[in-house]
Assembly symmetry: C2
Homo-oligomer: 218 residues x 2
């Protein structure tokens, strides 16, 4: 597999073809590739330029097993709800996603590398702007990581289910209480393919000056 | 000013040279450019592919004025704290940021376009995974917007200060209580330049398997 030294895919192409790749081969991924996508993650902005992030690269089967168990615990509840809604509404796109997430849950231990993005901060509940600023200092880097993975043809997806209990996730990863795990990104060479995604037209989600003023609807 | 129809800057170059551009020219920005960067924002992932975002494009001086006032109110307190820390520690990088943020606060009304990224969701405070999943459905799109702006040579920065009171921000933007404004991105042609940023080495923020195992330190 190629491990490009620079990720020179055009920005728009990377964005237009980024999608969650959940079915991953168990083949190992070079540390150089993993460090490269994390290096680009670190280029994202953080509030007051604090760069107060920590990334845990999980390859040890024992630690992976703990994350896999927590993921399944949450998925057993959440996925069951999702399936019953999808069956009732007959939503085929949702059924497809649910099947991929089920596959991911069943094969979590075989994923070669799992990256956990953490914030070195006690995230406040109040005021809302403080929580938004905190998560706004980690998710831009997660998105850089996902885009870099896409440009490297490395499969990736953003999930949070393995973190349903922050306390247990912290214990599994040896994190002190002052470091909050926020997002989990399983990485590996894809079984499937990246490709164009579908989205609602931009005019439907943009308002001019005041909410609901759909000035850009075509 | 160019308004490229595709943003084909190589991904890595866009990421390596993305920085907060706060000093913006008052010159207008074509709607086509604004819609283009928001279109690419919409390519980011959302939890359960809900695409439950709303983007308010603010150009009306009256609405801009309200956001400018809220920004200054928060900045008067927060900036004062920042300045007294920077003066005590003599942190020159921080002083530079503070000056740029002060400029932004003083010239907020002159910024041609202000985008407010919102989540169509009541963001729960508990459990932490629910809040993280919610913000994880808006900040990846914000980062796409910032990267797309960088590729278009459009100045941009991610701020949250104008949202210090969610209620007042909602009132200013005509948002119902069920839509949460999360991040503000002032956009305009830059007075300054994009360019390489400095970051801590990746080995200092990455642990292998358990927090603190700095296996990739050089």
């Amino acid at each position: 597999m190629d491990t490009p030294s620079t990720l020179d895919m055009p920005l728009e192409e990377a964005m237009m073809t980024q999608r969650a790749i959940r079915r991953l081969k168990p083949d190992p991924v070079d540390d150089a590739v993993i460090l490269k996508v994390i290096e680009l993650a670190l280029r994202a902005p953080t509030g007051s330029n604090a760069q107060n992030w920590e990334f845990i690269v999980v390859k040890d089967p024992a630690v992976k097993g703990k994350l896999a168990r927590m993921n399944r615990q949450a998925w057993n509840i959440y996925g069951g709800i999702g399936r019953s809604i999808a069956n009732r509404t007959g939503d085929e796109a949702m059924k497809k996603i649910l099947k991929a997430v089920q596959w991911q849950a069943d094969h979590f231990e075989e994923v070669p590398v799992i990256v956990v993005a953490c914030l070195k901060a006690v995230i406040p509940w109040f005021p809302s702007i403080a929580a938004s600023s905190a998560y706004g200092s980690i998710y831009p880097s997660v998105q850089n990581l996902l885009l870099a993975a896409r440009a490297a043809n490395l499969g990736a997806a953003l999930i949070t289910l393995p973190l349903w209990s922050r306390f247990r996730a912290q214990r599994a990863l040896g994190l002190p209480m002052t470091i909050a795990p926020c997002a989990v990104i399983p990485l590996g060479w894809p079984k499937g393919k990246y490709g164009p995604t579908t989205r609602r037209p931009v005019g439907e989600v943009v308002s001019l000056d005041r909410y609901g003023n759909r000035a850009f609807l075509e």
